[in-house]
C-alpha cells in the first residue's frame, strides 16, 4: 500500500487523519493553530491612534489542568506569543499566567503535578508565568486572596469541620480536605463537587492576578460531554455559564474556550507532535469499566466515543445547540451556597412534590423536617442539592460577599 499524501500540501506524507482528511505534520500543526488563533483574535497587538508604542498586553489566566488539551493550549499560546514578539519587536497583545490546582491530595496521578509545573517553568518561564494552588485553599486560606470565600470568621464557624474534623482543629490541610471529600460516597457527586471547587479556585486566582479573561483548554468533545453531563446532573441551567465564550464568571472575569473547535483526539495528537506529551499528567487509576462504579462523566465520555463513529457530526451539533440556550439564571434572585449559580427560590420544593416521602399509614399532615430545613439552611441549586444528598456531612456554606464588598476589596 502506498503512503497517503497530505491533502493540503499534496507534497508530504500524511501522518494523521482528522475529520476524514489526511494531514502531514506541518499542515496539521498549522490547521490546529489556526483554530486557536481564530478564537484568540481579540488579543492581537494593537497600537493606539497616532502612536508607535503598542497597547500594554492584557493578562490572561490559563486554567492548566495538565490534561492533554490544556497542555496543547499552553503550547499554542507560547507559540502565539513568540510569533507576536517576533513580528512586533518584542511587543505582545497578551500575557499568560498558567494556574494549576493541585489535586494530588485527593486523586493520584501518574506523576507529580508540581514537578511537571517546575519543568514547564524552567522551559517557558521567560514567556509566561506559572502558579500552583493547593486544593485546600478552598477551605483554609482565609487571607483576602480567596475573595468570596474568605468571609467566615474562622474555620470553626463552618459546620463542615464537625463532627470529624472539629476535635482536631490542628489537622493538616490535606487531612481536612480528603476527609471532607471522602464523606461523599457517590463518585459522581465527588467529582462534581471537586470540579466546582477547582473552578472557584481558578476564578479566585484570576481575580488575584487582575486578569479579565480566564482561558480553559476544553475541546469541543469535552464541551459536548459537559453539556450532557450537566443536563444529567440536573444542572441544565448552568450550561451557558459552563460553555459560553465571554460569559462573566465573576464580576470582573470572563471565560474563553480557545479550543472549542478542536476535537479531543486532535488536541492529544497535537500535544504529542509538539513534544508536550511528557508534561501531561494522567490519573493513576483508570476509570472503572463496571457501569455501577462509573461516574456520569465517565459514562458520557464513553457514550460520545461510541456514537461518534456512527454519527460523526453529533459533537458539534450538541455544542452548537447548547450555545443557543439562554442564561435563565440571570433572572433568578437567589444564589446557590456551594456553586454560586443563581437559582429559583426552592428547588427542594420541586423535588419534594414529585418524590413523596410519607408513609401510607401515617397522617400525611405530620410536619416533616423539610420545613425546618429550608429555614435555617442555605439555598442550594438543584444540582448541588442532588450532589450533596449522598454526603454524610453538612457542606460548608460560607456567606457570599455582596457586590459592594467585592468592589471595595478589589477596585483600585
Amino acid at each position: 500500500m502506498t503512503a497517503q499524501l497530505c491533502k493540503r500540501c499534496s507534497a508530504a506524507e500524511a501522518v494523521f487523519v482528522s475529520r476524514k482528511e489526511p494531514f502531514c505534520r506541518p499542515c496539521f500543526v498549522r490547521y490546529i493553530r489556526g483554530k486557536e488563533r481564530k478564537q484568540m483574535a481579540p488579543y492581537k497587538v494593537t497600537y493606539p491612534p497616532r502612536s508607535s508604542s503598542p497597547t500594554p498586553p492584557v493578562r490572561l489566566l490559563l486554567a492548566l489542568s495538565l490534561g492533554a488539551s490544556s497542555v496543547a493550549l499552553l503550547e499554542m499560546l507560547v507559540e502565539h506569543l513568540r510569533d507576536q514578539i517576533e513580528t512586533h519587536r518584542g511587543a505582545t497583545g497578551f500575557a499568560v499566567t498558567a494556574v494549576h490546582v493541585d489535586c494530588s491530595s485527593v486523586s493520584a496521578y501518574s506523576r507529580s503535578p508540581a514537578a511537571a509545573i517546575d519543568e514547564l517553568r524552567d522551559k517557558f518561564g521567560d514567556i509566561c508565568t506559572f502558579d500552583i494552588i493547593p486544593l485546600d485553599d478552598f477551605l483554609l486560606n482565609s487571607s483576602d486572596e480567596l475573595g468570596v470565600f474568605s468571609h467566615g470568621p474562622d474555620l470553626e464557624s463552618y459546620s463542615f469541620t464537625s463532627p470529624a474534623a472539629a476535635d482536631d482543629t490542628e489537622a493538616l490541610p490535606h487531612t481536612v480536605k480528603s476527609d471532607i471529600l471522602d464523606k461523599v460516597r457517590d463518585r459522581t457527586s465527588k467529582r462534581d463537587l471537586l470540579s466546582t471547587i477547582i473552578k472557584t479556585l481558578v476564578v479566585c486566582a484570576a481575580v488575584k492576578h487582575d486578569s479579565p479573561t480566564l482561558l480553559f483548554g476544553d475541546t469541543m468533545s469535552r464541551l459536548a460531554e459537559r453539556v450532557l453531563s450537566l443536563t444529567a446532573k440536573g444542572r441544565g441551567a448552568s450550561i451557558p455559564a459552563s460553555i459560553s465564550d465571554n460569559y462573566s464568571i465573576s464580576e470582573s472575569v470572563v471565560q474563553l474556550f480557545p479550543m472549542r473547535e478542536i476535537m479531543r483526539a486532535e488536541a492529544g495528537e497535537y500535544a504529542a507532535m509538539q513534544g508536550f506529551a511528557e508534561y501531561i499528567i494522567k490519573p493513576a487509576v483508570t476509570p472503572a469499566a463496571v457501569l455501577r462504579m462509573m461516574t456520569i462523566d465517565d459514562l458520557l465520555v464513553n457514550y460520545f466515543r461510541e456514537i461518534e463513529a456512527g454519527f460523526p457530526s453529533i459533537v458539534s451539533t450538541v455544542v452548537r445547540t447548547a450555545d443557543k440556550l439562554k442564561d435563565t439564571t440571570a433572572e433568578m434572585d437567589m444564589a446557590c451556597a456551594i456553586c454560586g449559580v443563581k437559582c429559583a427560590s426552592e428547588p427542594e420544593k420541586w423535588l419534594q412534590n414529585i418524590t413523596v416521602n410519607t408513609s401510607a399509614v401515617e397522617n400525611p399532615q405530620e410536619p416533616s423536617d423539610s420545613d425546618t430545613l429550608t429555614k435555617d439552611k442555605d439555598i442550594l441549586c438543584y444540582g448541588c442539592l442532588v450532589a450533596t444528598k449522598s454526603a454524610s456531612f453538612t457542606w460548608p456554606c460560607p456567606p457570599r460577599s455582596t457586590k459592594e464588598e467585592i468592589i471595595s476589596q478589589y477596585e483600585l
Partner: protein, 348 residues
C-alpha cells in the same frame, strides 16, 4: 409476634416488611407505601399544574400498554379519592398492525370493562382512505414508517377526541420518555422543541386539542412495578415495526445514567425545564405559524394541506400498481408485523 429488626422494615412506615426497592430513591418500602407515594406524586403533579377542572370531560389515550393502563387506573383512583369531578373516556387508535395492535386492543376492551369507562376506537383505515399501517409498510418498506404512524396517530387522537366532543387528551408518557426526549433534542439539535419538550401540557397552533402527561415524573420501572403489584391487565409487546436506531442510543444512555445515579431521570427533566432559547427578534417572529385549516380534510393546519394529507397523497400516488395485485384488500395477506411474529414462534 416476634419483632423484626429495624432494618428489615419499610423505610417509610416502619411497620410492614418491605417488598421492593424503590427505583426512584432506592428506599426499601412496602407495597402499601409504594402505592401511596406513587399515586400521591401523580396527584401532586396534577394539582401543581391544575390539569383538570370539575365537570371536564377528558380522554385517556389508551394503547393497552403498561403506561396507558396504569394511567387509566391511577386516574380513576385519584378521581374518586380527591373528587376531581372529571369524566374520563378511553380513546384508542387502531393503526392496523396485525399481530400487535389487534391483541393490544383486546386488552383495552378488557380495561374498559374493568374500569367501567366508555371506550372509543378510531382506526387509520377509516380516517385515511383505507390505509392501515400494514398497507403502508407493504408499500414504503419498513424504514421511516414511524413518520407516517406518528403524524397519523397525532391527528387520529385529535379527531377521535373531537368525535367525542372532548378537547383534552391524556397520554401515558413517563419520566423516562421525557428524559429521553430532552437528550434527543440536544443530540439532534432540535432547538424548536428543546425548550418546550418538558411541559406537562402541550397546546399548539397545529392541534385543536390540549395534550397532557400526568405521568411525566413517574419512572418507567415504577410503572411496571405498580402494574405488577396491582395485577393490572396490560399488553407488553413493543411495536414490531422498526424503532429509530438513534433513539435507541439515547434510551441506552438513559438506562445507564439511571444505573449510575437513580435520580438522573428527574434530574434531566429538571434541566429540561430550565432550558430556554435565546430568541433573536424578527427571524423567529416571521416564522410564526398562522393557524388555518387543511383544504381537503378540514383539520387544523398552517399550510394548504395538513401533514397527514400530504403523506396520504404520497401513498396514493403509488397505490395504483399495488391495487392490481391485491384484489380484495380486506383479506389480503398478513402484514409484515404478523408475519414476523409468526416466524418468531416457528420451531423445527
Amino acid at each position: 409476634m416476634p419483632s423484626l429488626p429495624l432494618q428489615s422494615l419499610c423505610e417509610l412506615c416502619s411497620a410492614q416488611k418491605p417488598s421492593l426497592r424503590r427505583p426512584k430513591t432506592g428506599q426499601k418500602i412496602c407495597q402499601q407505601c409504594f402505592f401511596h407515594v406513587f399515586e400521591t406524586e401523580i396527584h401532586n403533579t396534577i394539582t401543581a399544574a391544575s390539569l383538570f377542572h370539575p365537570g371536564e370531560r377528558v380522554a385517556i389515550g389508551a394503547s393497552g400498554g403498561k403506561d396507558s393502563t396504569v394511567l387509566a387506573h391511577v386516574m380513576k383512583t385519584l378521581n374518586e379519592r380527591y373528587s376531581y369531578g372529571v369524566d374520563f373516556v378511553l380513546l384508542s387508535i387502531d393503526e392496523g398492525i396485525r399481530g400487535y395492535r389487534d391483541d393490544s386492543l383486546e386488552t383495552v376492551k378488557r380495561n374498559q370493562q374493568q374500569y367501567s369507562l366508555p371506550l372509543k376506537i378510531v382506526s387509520y383505515k377509516d380516517l385515511y382512505d383505507g390505509w392501515s399501517m400494514d398497507n403502508i409498510v407493504a408499500q414504503i418498506g419498513s424504514k421511516n414508517n414511524c413518520t407516517y404512524c406518528g403524524v397519523f396517530r397525532r391527528q387520529a387522537l385529535d379527531r377521535g377526541a373531537q368525535m367525542l366532543g372532548i378537547n383534552h387528551v391524556l397520554t401515558g408518557h413517563n419520566a423516562d420518555d421525557m428524559a429521553e426526549t430532552v437528550l434527543m433534542n440536544i443530540l439532534r439539535g432540535d432547538t424548536a422543541r428543546l425548550d418546550r419538550c418538558t411541559e406537562i401540557i402541550t397546546q399548539s397552533a397545529e392541534s385543536p386539542i390540549k395534550r397532557s402527561k400526568p405521568l411525566k415524573f413517574a419512572y418507567e420501572k415504577e410503572i411496571v412495578l405498580y402494574a405488577h403489584y396491582k395485577k393490572l391487565d396490560y399488553f407488553s409487546t413493543e411495536c414490531t415495526y422498526s424503532p429509530e436506531a438513534f433513539r435507541g442510543t439515547a434510551r441506552t444512555l438513559i438506562k445507564n445514567l439511571e444505573t449510575v445515579r437513580s435520580s438522573a431521570i428527574i434530574d434531566i427533566i429538571h434541566s429540561g425545564e430550565t432550558f430556554a432559547l435565546q430568541r433573536r427578534g424578527g427571524k423567529n417572529q416571521a416564522k410564526k405559524l398562522v393557524a388555518g385549516v387543511c383544504e381537503r380534510c378540514g383539520y387544523i393546519s398552517s399550510n394548504k394541506l395538513c401533514k397527514a394529507c400530504v403523506l396520504l397523497d404520497g401513498l396514493n400516488a403509488g397505490r395504483a400498481a399495488v391495487q392490481i395485485s391485491l384484489e380484495k384488500p380486506g383479506d389480503q395477506d398478513d402484514g409484515a408485523a404478523l408475519v414476523r411474529k409468526q416466524l418468531e414462534h416457528l420451531s423445527f
